[in-house]
Symmetry: C2
Subunit: 202 residues, 2 copies
């Protein structure tokens, strides 16, 4: 019998990424789309860890499956870590990438490039049905540039420039992005935890 793992998301892109990372493991990946009626976690926590923990524990409790959840965002040093957990809704409750980017650039307009360092952060949490938690984290450092560059990715990717690659996140292909991104790092670490510590219990 194949064991099951819940990824606490309804996002198809996240699901595909996880499936590729878990390829070869005897695990059947479920998502919240397999339970259309489940209420979702609030995501009202002040930290990525808080939101990911909330989502993972709720999913594990609701379904009885080992559950993986993640939360991520952009932290700009010159803004004391903003937009942080507010990244997706920085310019208003309705998620709008373009407006979020414009708001960020407007806040940074008097700040020189040398002081525009930022990091993308992703925290993944794995929860078991009896309330045990494991966490993994990934970070990727870059600079917020004023010109939009590239058509890939989403969110702040077009203005998040990685000096070592001479490209923004939006100029990377998906494979290249996953290799260095905060989310790729966190998910790979989460997969290691699942393989080494949880695969018998799934």
């Amino acid at each position: 019998m194949t064991a099951k793992l819940l990824m606490a998301t309804r996002n198809k892109g996240k699901e595909l990424e996880l499936r590729s990372l878990l390829a070869g493991l005897p695990l059947e990946i479920m998502t919240l789309n397999d339970w259309p009626d489940l209420p979702e976690a609030m995501e009202d926590q002040p930290t990525f860890l808080g939101n990911a923990t909330q989502k993972a524990l709720l999913g594990a409790q609701q379904t009885g499956l080992i559950t993986l959840a993640d939360d991520s965002g952009l932290e700009v040093a010159a803004l004391g870590g903003l937009p942080g957990v507010r990244s997706a809704r920085f310019a208003g409750e309705e998620r709008n990438d373009r407006r979020n980017n414009m708001k960020l650039l407007s806040l940074l307009k008097d700040i020189p490039l040398s002081q525009r360092t930022a990091q993308f952060v992703c925290v993944a949490v794995i929860a078991t049905p009896d309330g045990k938690i494991y966490s993994a984290e990934g970070r990727c450092t870059g600079i917020i540039v004023s010109e939009f560059q590239g058509k890939g990715g989403f969110g702040y990717d077009p203005i998040f420039y990685v000096p070592g690659l001479h490209k923004t996140f939006a100029q990377l292909d998906l494979e290249e992005k996953n290799r260095i991104s905060h989310r790729g790092q966190a998910l790979r670490e989460a997969v290691t935890i699942i393989r080494t510590r949880l695969s018998h219990g799934c």
Copy 2:
């Protein structure tokens, strides 16, 4: 009126350390010794983060106060991260530093010094009464040596050698140890979170 913060411990040493880090802030520190009858958290989680979160959330829920808890231990690379969350009870349920050290050295007896790297890890979690969580982490890298050196500290300190200082943790005075230790780092970061994000809510 002075605000109150609960440190979810009955350990006097931890209390003193936190008091010195919070000196000057308008915060009254309480500990579980102020509530002698409260049941304690189980500490049966597989991770430091899990244990610290469990303790902090339970304390905040029981007392209605913003609560700080920590969990820490030693991870030896050659042993796949053991003793980890089992650090305090590695050689048996009754906590015994000497026996824990002897068990660790016996497991490492065929491993050359160059492969005996280890890290002390501390995770601190701050929880609010409405279930929000913040976390902070500290790490300190060293080498597990076979001869006990120094009389200070506790736990694995006499065999945890810090190459940069040419001393074991047990050979450091408390101030010197707090400056570099995993616990000092995590608590300083936790104090920053309390000062910048929570002091109005305490």
